[in-house]
């Protein structure tokens, strides 16, 4: 049974000193500490942070960059906003630690356009860090120098994808690059770059302050630590929750006071939608990975409407460069329209599911690869409702 009542982030007294500790170690030792903690990327993909930093540290280049991915665009996620506005120190000093670990000179916060109101707050905090010698030249009297600049996004969802984010940083259209090469080798302006989620940097801070062993006592075997979850939808207590990895959906629903739930969308628009029969599954990289969005739908909700909403989102937010994502999402949306009108045959629905599977493996970036997830999971898990709904011509609530 996971420890639900503990908290890492929300107990400010427990944060401790991380930057001081990190700068006393060698970059290799910092990276090793992160590796030992088992920390994995909190943006959703779950790439081991220590490995990413190690690759960037071992890459040979005159310049290296750290990018904090604060383009929190996944529908239903708002945990990074909380970290940035209320636990700024964890994030920004986590970035400095990351910079020190890979020996970078410069960091960027790629701030979601809609979070522009945080710009002044963050800049003030950066100023304060510079005054306190926690940023800028010779941080805390060491030889290490590092500075952070804030860049604003312009509202493109795809810029949360790390290579599209880098393109956007460079001043180009936000479109994903081909991988390989990966950003740890060839990132911003062609230099080794680590792109990490806001929460990942905050976790890195905690790992350095509390130690890898302390951190890894939370969570499951392959998903260490606590996870911030943004809960919204038909619940009594929506908000940001800190839970250990391994928590079951059932436990989470109880915690947040879900009201007669019918379906839970985990991972935002690009996540999957599970029915109540699967609530014993858990949130972890082994089972259901998520960047932190949980949306609860009660039994009054029309799943077709839910799906339509997600598909409209992807049709608009696809960057439009690769065929499967650009046209595929449109075809899936048209399929939803056919379902609504009661004109979609089982055969065509299966064809669309197959198309979705192609999109999952043939799209260029994570956006296209995950965009069919809600379609496939909703039409599979709620097939009866969707087909009957359409036949009756009842568009639901």
């Amino acid at each position: 049974m996971p420890i639900i009542n503990d908290t890492i982030f929300f107990d400010e007294k427990a944060h401790g000193e991380a930057l001081e500790k990190a700068l006393k170690l060698t970059p290799q030792e910092v990276v090793m500490e992160i590796r030992e903690s088992g920390l994995r990327g909190r943006g959703g993909a779950g790439f081991p942070t220590g490995t990413k930093w190690m690759l960037a540290l071992s890459a040979k280049a005159d310049k290296k960059f750290v990018v904090c991915n604060a383009d929190e665009g996944e529908p239903g996620t708002f945990k990074d906003r909380v970290l940035l506005s209320e636990y700024t120190k964890l994030v920004l000093e986590g970035m400095v630690i990351g910079g020190y670990a890979i020996q970078a000179q410069k960091g960027f916060i790629y701030l979601r356009g809609e979070y522009a109101y945080l710009f002044d707050h963050l800049n003030t905090y950066l100023e304060r860090m510079r005054r306190e010698k926690r940023l800028g030249n010779n941080i805390l009297g060491t030889n290490y120098s590092f500075d952070i600049e804030i860049r604003l996004g312009s509202g493109a969802y795809v810029c949360g994808e790390e290579t599209a984010l880098i393109e956007s940083l460079e001043g180009h259209r936000g479109e994903a690059r081909n991988r390989p090469p990966f950003p740890v080798n060839t990132g911003y302006l062609g230099y080794p770059t680590i792109v990490n989620n806001v929460e990942t940097f905050a976790c890195a801070y905690i790992v350095m302050s509390k130690g890898a062993q302390w951190f890894s006592k939370y969570g499951t075997e392959k998903s260490k630590g606590m996870k911030l979850i943004s809960v919204s939808g038909d619940v009594k207590k929506p908000g940001v929750y800190e839970v250990p990895f391994g928590i079951t959906i059932k436990e989470l629903l109880e915690l947040v006071g879900a009201e007669e739930p019918k379906a839970v969308q985990i991972g935002g628009a690009s996540g999957i939608c599970i029915p109540m029969s699967e609530v014993n599954r858990n949130i972890s990289f082994e089972d259901i990975p998520t960047g932190g969005s949980v949306i609860v739908f009660n039994k009054e909700r029309s799943m077709l409407k839910v799906l339509r909403n997600f598909m409209e989102f992807f049709v608009e937010e696809s960057c439009g460069q690769c065929t499967p994502c650009r046209v595929g999402n449109k075809k899936l949306l048209e399929g939803v329209e056919l379902l609504e009108e009661g004109r979609c045959s089982h055969r065509y629905l299966n064809e669309l599911i197959e198309l979705g599977k192609t999109m999952q493996i043939a799209s260029k970036c994570g956006l296209g690869q995950s965009s069919p997830n809600p379609f496939i999971s909703i039409v599979t898990n709620f097939k009866d409702e969707i087909m009957s709904n359409s036949i009756r011509g009842n568009n639901g609530k």
């Binding site: 690059r177 090469p181 439009g320 460069q321 499967p324």
Partner: protein, 625 residues
Amino acid sequence: MESKISQERAPVAQKPHKIDTTVTGDIGGLVDIEINGRPYQVPFGITILEACRRNNIHIPTLCYHEDLCIAGVCRVCVVEIEGMRTLQASCAYPITGKIKIWTTSEKVRKARRHILDLLLSEHYGECYSCVRNNNCELQTLAKEYGVDYYRFGHVDQKRYEVDRSSYAIVRDMDKCVLCKRCVRTCIDLQEVGVLEATRRGYNTLISTFMDKPMIDVICINCGQCINRCPTGALRAKDPSDEIWKAIDDPKKHVVIQTAPSIRVAIGEEFGLPPGNSMTGQMATALRMIGFDRVFDTNFAADLTIMEEGTELLLRLKRKLVDGDENVKLPQFTSCSPGWIKFIEHYYPEYLDYLSTCKSPQQMFGAVIKTFYAQEMGIDPANIVTVAVMPCTAKKFECNRPEMNSSGFKDIDYGLTTRELAQMIKEAGIYLPELPPSHFDEPFGDASGAGLIFGATGGVMEAALRTVYEIVTGREVPFKNLEITPCRGIDGVREASVVLENVKEEWKFLEGVELKFMIAHGTANAKKVMEALIRGELNNYHFVEIMACPGGCIGGGGQPIPTSPEIRKKRIEAIYKEDAELPIRKSHENPHIKYIYEKFLVDGPCGHISHKLLHTHYTKRGKYIV
């Protein structure tokens, strides 16, 4: 030459991963891989696509083009790599380890078919009314994958208005498959940057700045985008209907001239491999079609050399002897209308460096409507001049308002190689089997110097053959007149010759090292111009610039497809034909001597030629109201 200002836009991640070393090199040796269950050894770092092509394993592509940086966006070329969840675009995936690749597994076939179905669902236009019928990569793919119905529907009505505003390029976005080849051509290959993807997601559209019509943007009309478009979304503006009408009109005397690069490329339109010369056959075909006179632009190229070479010598004299500080050197060539529009837009302050000579096409037009009309006793008002060019920018050039010094439009219609081939086919002629014939008098012969204008470096080589001889009285000191430093396909090349034992009247040039530079493709032109601005070209004398990669043989009006290999073959054919010609130097062309005796009586750069054969340029800048 390395530019200090890097203007490159293509991110490192999208550079083509082409590896030339096969055994050793910086990155290392060979990697053992498996393709479709069979072992292969390939160079480290090579892409999967390249590895497969070298081993004759076919992988279909759409957005991939040898000349361009990697996009990896169409996803047609996806392959399966054992152990990986997702399929990988073979054009973009470098081989750096012992991987096992499947190019036709079930997953791959299914994905490719889906992707094709998706592309076709958005592609509007019927094949039989398309200029690219039978030469369309989408059509070929549909056939290859046995597409027999539109699985995901099909657009049934036009969504976009066809942009016919440009003199040269027609855009029909209903046929666009968003492969972005045109974008990469315009931005990365040519560094002009007129076309770019706009909007987002399903609404993505290749467009111009603020969706302006092509005529109102800084397009240089080079047509390289047309050559690389896989479908009929981009095409040249075809004047052949008007030309047929002129041919059918008995009152009209229709004269056609053919540029040097047509003869070595037109065979490709009839299914011949690249590099076959069709000079005589083409002359025959043109007569059969009904043109009243068939001339060779090479004659006008010779004329250009006389004028441009003389202009260079005069500039040198004014600078070195008269000490005239207003004389601009190096002198830049002005044959390429794409380059002219490029410099007018991008470097309007530097137009004085351009030679004032019209291009050969326009010179010929002016001569036809004056000298030729006089000699033949034809009213120039009844003469229709057609120019077959490898070029789309020529369509714009002949419509420039200043190109009418004879009182008539120098050239009435610019026709591309592709459009001419179409006319020949329409006349029921199979070009390769025709008996060869000569061009018509009074401009029947041309020199090899005029011919090599078609290849990058050719104008320079032709000019040197003449200038060197005028100044020294001797042939250029190169075996068989082959000025090898001018040849080759490097983007920017430079060389020099020292003028020694010069003739009495050119004493001021004794011992001068004539330095010249050659660039092709406007991206390279930009490098040269940046060097000029930095003052690095102060001791250079002559610069040849062609807007298109490879020179005119790679022009925007040439047969599709194009690739470095195809352009190389065409260039070889040009040099081969030059070597076989009896006259190799422009000033030895008897018709050139004749025209200067009879018509341009005050000589090269004299008053008459100045009126008819020279022109001026427009400071366009980048802001078009």
